[in-house]
């Protein structure tokens, strides 16, 4: 696919979208990303990786006006981007080799804007910093050259203008883009219509389905169907070794965790015999760079990207053929680390390795492999929540949510720290003390445990779980009371047969979570739970929650009738929450969902790369059309079929954004309940 798509987006296409669109380049970058050594490296933290940032720059169709404050609050006005006249004449004859293209030297402007430092607010408006990939990359920027890379060539920032991406120059065509203007006018289709090729293209049906064109050259996801199949163990005689190794290598995604002493801790695929050798090699490589005080952050081998995260005595490695950016992968590794902390707490972890550097961590972590694996698989399947570092809420009326909040507040007991009602992984209600906010990354660990991994639900009872929430406090445990209610149960069953979980999907589960610092408070919280459930039943809230769960997410067409958009993500940055429509019917299969998520990952990477100023990006690919738009208020991503016109896309986008604005207090928890 890569080759053909490269051809596809050759010159005529360039001109096709020339007026403002960087799509051909962007598309190329995306598609190349799988093999490329560069595309996502643009996100690498160390400034020296600027060489890789060409994909970002290549999409920089944004005018100075658009580069306004990029902090969440948006009050920090950035100076306008200086023009880059020297580049304008430098359109390369072939834009096909992004991996060779160095980035623009964009320091002067980026230095002013901490694009991704986000002071985020939780539902009620309280603040905290949230480790989005972006914010991490900013904080790591200080490491400078020591950031390390195994691709030394990437350290050079070439000033060779002739290699600049063609689209860079496109800036000059669009001096009047307004970030806060109407998106449709922003991406004026009138510009397109000037191109005969575009006319030709748009004369085709608008409604060719997404991913419908079967791309025989698209090998990237060829094995996705088998991605989650277990790799069998190497048998004692080693007779099947070769075959097992092939299966193992065919996995598109690996996660490895090892200790700095080289002890294996976790591998998503393959048994110990299979991975031990690799663990040894990886340990050697990472340690080599560690010893040189130049920590290894990532490297590329063939079409596979390796990203390394070092946390104290632990090495985390993500190995991906799925084309995620470095910071996206690093965020995933970070989440695995958080899961380990959540099991052990930081002092225990540190203690173990201080006492015995050679500690085998598998024993202390026993029983939590499933939690690591379900996290890993969530990332591999593609998770909007993980990508956006945001939570999703169950859509109900504001007054209904208010009633539920009050029910929780009224039933609150002395020992309660946090109280939550969660339905199918979507937040219904939260109550919390004024001085403690609840960290989205902590919540996603909890949601993973409750809704993705089966262990808790399978118990079929009420649960009392010691858990460290690293965002809240890395050093100690909290105690979490959990009980499930099935949304399809006619009514709340008696305690004797309480949660009947057999045969229901996680989407149908309603969970009451009550968290305390006191490990002895189970009965107290259980009483609160019973009171809350009884009250929710009697005031009708339980029925409302169940109905909302059963109804599921609205489809894109429910939201904007007749729209050509097939799916979208809307993240409210202030609320650290996102909204999305149902995945069905277009994306119900794991493969289609992965393709969708890969598109979102690409859009996200483009707008979140360290030196990226991209605020709007329209990507055209053979089988899809996608758009991202970020403002200080929101990030919006959407997907449509390949023949959708840009007007169709932007019209749909505007409609959705208007809808979200209108429904804001239903789709998001704004100003949650505090006590």
């Amino acid at each position: 696919m890569r080759h053909s798509s490269d051809q596809r987006k050759s010159h005529s296409h360039d001109r096709l979208y020339a007026p403002i669109d960087t799509a051909p380049t962007a598309t190329a970058a995306k598609e190349d990303g799988i093999t490329a050594t560069m595309t996502y490296d643009g996100e690498n933290e160390a400034p020296k990786h600027r060489t890789h940032a060409d994909s970002d720059e290549s999409m920089a169709t944004i005018t100075p006006q658009e580069d306004d404050g990029t902090t969440l609050e948006g009050h920090e006005q950035r100076p306008a981007l200086p023009p880059r006249p020297s580049l304008l004449g430098d359109r390369p004859t072939t834009p096909l080799s992004p991996r060779k293209r160095p980035a623009l030297q964009s320091k002067p402007t980026t230095a002013v804007s901490s694009v991704d430092i986000q002071t985020l607010s939780f539902p009620d408006g309280s603040r905290g910093t949230f480790p989005t990939p972006g914010s991490r990359s900013v904080s790591e920027a200080g490491h400078g050259i020591s950031g390390g890379t195994s691709t030394p060539s990437s350290r050079k920032v070439s000033q060779n203008g002739s290699e600049f991406d063609d689209s860079t120059s496109l800036m000059s065509y669009t001096p009047t883009l307004r970030a806060n203007g109407d998106l449709a006018s922003l991406l004026d289709e009138g510009l397109n219509s000037q191109s005969p090729a575009w006319k030709l293209l748009s004369s085709q049906a608008d409604n060719v389905n997404l991913f419908e064109t079967i791309d025989y050259e698209d090998n990237a996801l060829l094995n996705f169907d088998q991605e989650f199949d277990e790799v069998e163990a190497v048998d004692s005689k080693g007779g099947n070794e070769e075959q097992v190794l092939l299966l193992w290598k065919a996995k598109l995604k690996h996660y490895l965790i090892l200790s700095s002493a080289g002890k294996p801790i976790y591998s998503r695929h393959g048994d110990q015999n299979l991975i031990n050798g690799y663990i040894g090699i990886i340990q050697t490589i990472i340690s080599f760079f560690q010893d040189a005080k130049d920590p290894l952050m990532g490297f590329t081998a063939g079409g596979t990207r390796f990203v390394v995260l070092i946390e104290g005595p632990l090495y985390f490695v993500a190995i991906s053929k799925l084309g995620e950016s470095d910071s996206q992968l690093r965020a995933q590794l970070e989440a695995l680390y958080m899961q380990i902390l959540s099991t052990l707490t930081l002092p225990t972890l540190t203690q173990l390795f201080t006492n015995r550097p050679n500690t085998d961590l598998r024993r202390p972590l026993e029983g939590t492999e499933t939690l690591l694996s379900s996290l890993a698989d969530t990332f591999t399947k593609g998770s909007p929540s993980a990508l956006l570092s945001a939570l999703e809420c169950l859509k109900i009326r504001k007054s209904q949510r208010h009633t539920i909040n009050n029910t929780l507040l009224k039933a609150r007991t002395e020992k309660l720290l946090y109280g939550l009602v969660v339905a199918g992984g979507r937040l219904v209600s939260v109550i919390r003390p004024k001085r403690h906010s609840l960290h989205p990354s902590d919540l996603s660990l909890i949601f993973n445990m409750l809704f993705e991994a089966g262990s808790v639900k399978a118990g079929g009872g009420e649960n009392w779980i010691p858990v460290c929430l690293p965002g809240f406090n890395k050093t100690g445990y909290l105690y979490m009371y959990v009980s499930f209610i099935n949304a399809h149960d006619g009514e709340e069953s008696s305690s004797d047969q309480r949660p009947s979980t057999a045969g229901s999907s996680p989407e149908d589960e309603i969970a009451i979570l009550l968290i305390s610092t006191d490990k002895e408070s189970f009965y107290e919280l259980k009483q609160m739970r019973d009171d809350v459930v009884a009250q929710l039943e009697s005031n009708g809230s339980m029925g409302i929650i169940k109905a909302a769960v059963r109804q599921g997410r609205p489809s894109t067409a429910d939201i904007v009738p007749g729209t050509q958009l097939r799916h979208f993500l809307y993240k409210s940055r202030a609320n650290v929450q996102f909204m999305m429509p149902s995945l069905s019917p277009d994306f119900s299969s794991p493969l289609a969902r992965r393709k969708l998520m890969s598109l979102y990952h690409n859009l996200h990477a483009s707008t979140h790369a360290k030196h990226s100023h991209v605020k709007v990006l329209h990507c055209v690919a053979r089988d899809s059309n996608s758009l991202v738009w970020t403002t200080p208020l929101f990030e919006f991503y959407c997907i449509a079929g390949p023949n959708t016109s840009r007007a169709g896309l932007t019209h749909g986008a505007n409609k959705v954004i208007q809808w979200v604005k209108r429904e804001e207090e239903r789709v998001f928890i704004i100003g949650g309940a505090v006590f």
Binding site: T343, L344, T348, R363, P364, E366, G367, T368, T370, L371, M449, A453, G454, S455, V456, A458, G459, G460, G461, E462, N463, W464, I465, P466, V467, M480, S494, S495, D496, A502, K519, E520, F522, Y523, K526, Q527, D530, A534
Partner: protein, 219 residues
């Protein structure tokens, strides 16, 4: 968690009592599977490890007039939860200590739990020893790592009830719980609270006066 004894009641001829039971034993011996069999009569070969502890209830009839409700704490066997164990067994009326008859080391672990219970738990706690996964040796006798006679001798010596069970086939699971129920003190029941059989009744109010049954087990 406040101290609680068995709660009981009597209406006419019928007796109702409830007891707190804790399951202990090494990880993966089948504690959760035994509970699932007992409570839901199900078995799941791909069980994931318990995280933290699970609280379940099951009511059984000993005879026409006698109903016993178990409040069951199914604990996770992992070391890191060790320090939490006391809160589960502290006020337990009875305990099931489980080992896997195909894993020799699991009996050692079980013996440690028994010792800990006898030292730290309720003086009158009734302890049953359960050698689980009996089905595995029925198919392949050479898989057995712990002889029935050895475990039985140990149980007798330590004063434990003893069963070999299979959560998979259900063999002896109900018997295990029934024989525990029969050993529990059913007779100090007070007047029956009309709500005590259901949720929100005595079992949820650890400190409700009148639900404490003080007397030690006389069996």
């Amino acid at each position: 968690m406040a101290a609680r004894g068995p709660a009981g009641s009597r209406v006419g001829n019928s007796r109702f009592a409830q007891f707190k039971l804790v399951l202990l034993g090494e990880s993966a011996v089948g504690k959760s599977s035994i509970v699932l069999r007992f409570v839901k009569d199900q078995f799941d070969s791909y069980r994931e490890s318990t995280i933290g502890a699970a609280f379940l209830t099951q009511t059984i009839s000993l005879d026409e007039n006698t109903t016993v409700k178990f409040e069951i704490w199914d604990t996770a066997g992992q070391e890191r939860y060790k320090s939490l164990a006391p809160m589960y067994y502290r006020n337990a009326n009875c305990a099931v200590v489980v080992y896997d008859i195909t894993q020799a080391s699991s009996l050692d672990k079980a013996k440690q739990w028994v010792k800990e219970l006898q030292r730290q738990a309720n003086e009158n706690i009734i302890i049953a020893l359960a050698g689980n996964k009996l089905d595995l040796v029925t198919e392949q006798p050479d898989k057995r790592a712990i002889q029935t006679a050895d475990a039985e001798a140990y149980a007798r010596e330590a004063g434990l009830l003893f069963f070999e069970t299979s959560a998979k086939t259900a063999e002896n699971v109900r018997e295990l719980f029934t024989s525990i129920a029969k050993k529990l003190p059913l007779d100090q029941a007070g007047p029956r609270n009309p709500r005590s059989g259901g949720r929100g009744g005595v079992e949820l109010r650890p400190d409700t006066p009148g639900t404490q049954a003080g007397g030690p087990c006389s069996c």
